[in-house]
Symmetry: C2
Subunit: 224 residues, 2 copies
């Protein structure tokens, strides 16, 4: 059986990339990472790719705050994705937007993960924004990415408590633990052809009931 | 020991009022409903008040979409709240805003419950908006209400899954089940003097760890 060819976009340390590589290697998901693309030459994710024997490609993509320079990166991305026969794009901590050509060529074939319960706390600082707001529950979301980005159709979410002594690092770590589960799971559903986009809803064919069907209540109850 | 005197604002059927009345009656919370105030003469909540032997007062408060007419309702509210010695206001499905005089007189002493994980899905249709967005996890939030309303400091949240076949009624019922737990719990913390507002954060003194400390993941995992 042929496995789904993934193109993983990264900017940083690449722990989600690692979770995907591990899930591929152990056969939990019917996919392989065909190429890793980074806008950051120094990203540790590229080293993870090297160690896994996966090609890593550095493609500059403009400054974060400046002009996106899609006219440069967009054709490069398309060429590399084509070279490696990528069927599904996985954004894994990629701190840029994809250009319009890539989004058009891969419409319905781009996944993203966000460290918050969308639509709360869109943007680049989901964990910090959740802490500042003072929510008791946050989490993470895997969704299809479209031009509007953090607003694409939701595939899977995980909710975790925010604890009184949390700082950004401890909350990020708690959320990351769930990211490393739900991202490979979403990829596996895609690989199995079980994700059906209906408008802005995603139906997971033959979905299991939620893991832990009850509520998370935070802080904990005392009177019930 | 004297119990905290609550003024509960309602517009509809009053299931949260009922949960509060029950929690008071059974002694789970050290509070009593001193008065129920409704902007809707026909609200079933007023009948619940009557059955519980609690005074119910109808105070018109303008049309929902029209001018708030605070100049009329605001002094009425203040007078009734004063008459019944209300120490804490609990908005429980009250479909109007409180006027500036009440909010000033009761600054830091107004609670509200919202049927979504704030800051997601503010406004009057939290459950419907969550369904339309396509989230996998929603919930409810008890928070201090300020002039900006749905954005006040969060006290407690509960997260529940959104299921594939949910309609607005089934999701609302699942969330309501949690509302009926977290609202009395928040009132009890207030009554015990355990809620400390620090900027836009609320510290619950001696808070228990979350009820169910793990994640809710929805749809359920298959590969982990």
């Amino acid at each position: 059986m042929s496995t789904l060819r993934l193109g993983v976009f990264v900017s940083g340390s690449g722990t989600n990339l690692q979770a995907i590589l591990d899930a591929c290697r152990t056969g939990r998901i019917a996919a392989q990472v065909a190429v890793v693309i980074s806008n950051n030459r120094e990203a540790y994710a590229l080293e993870r790719a090297r160690q896994a024997g996966v090609p890593g490609v550095y493609i500059p993509a403009g400054s974060r705050s400046g002009s996106p320079r899609w006219e440069v990166a967009d054709p490069c991305h398309l060429e590399v994705l084509g070279d490696y026969g990528v069927e599904l794009i996985c954004m894994a901590g990629y701190m840029r937007r994809l250009g319009p050509q890539v989004l058009e060529a891969y419409a319905g074939r781009v996944l993203n993960i966000h460290p918050a319960l969308l639509p709360s706390f869109i943007g680049a600082h989901g964990q910090r924004d959740a802490l500042r707001y003072g929510v008791r529950i946050s989490g993470c979301t895997v969704h299809f990415a479209d031009a509007n980005f953090d607003t694409g159709p939701v595939i899977i979410q995980a909710a975790v408590p925010v604890l009184p002594d949390d700082d950004e690092a401890s909350l990020a770590a708690r959320i990351l633990q769930q990211e490393h589960k739900i991202y490979p799971q979403a990829i596996q559903w895609y690989a199995q052809g079980r994700l059906v986009i209906e408008g802005r809803h995603v139906r997971v064919l033959n979905a299991r009931p939620p893991t832990i069907a009850e509520a998370i209540i935070n802080p904990g109850l005392e009177i019930f």
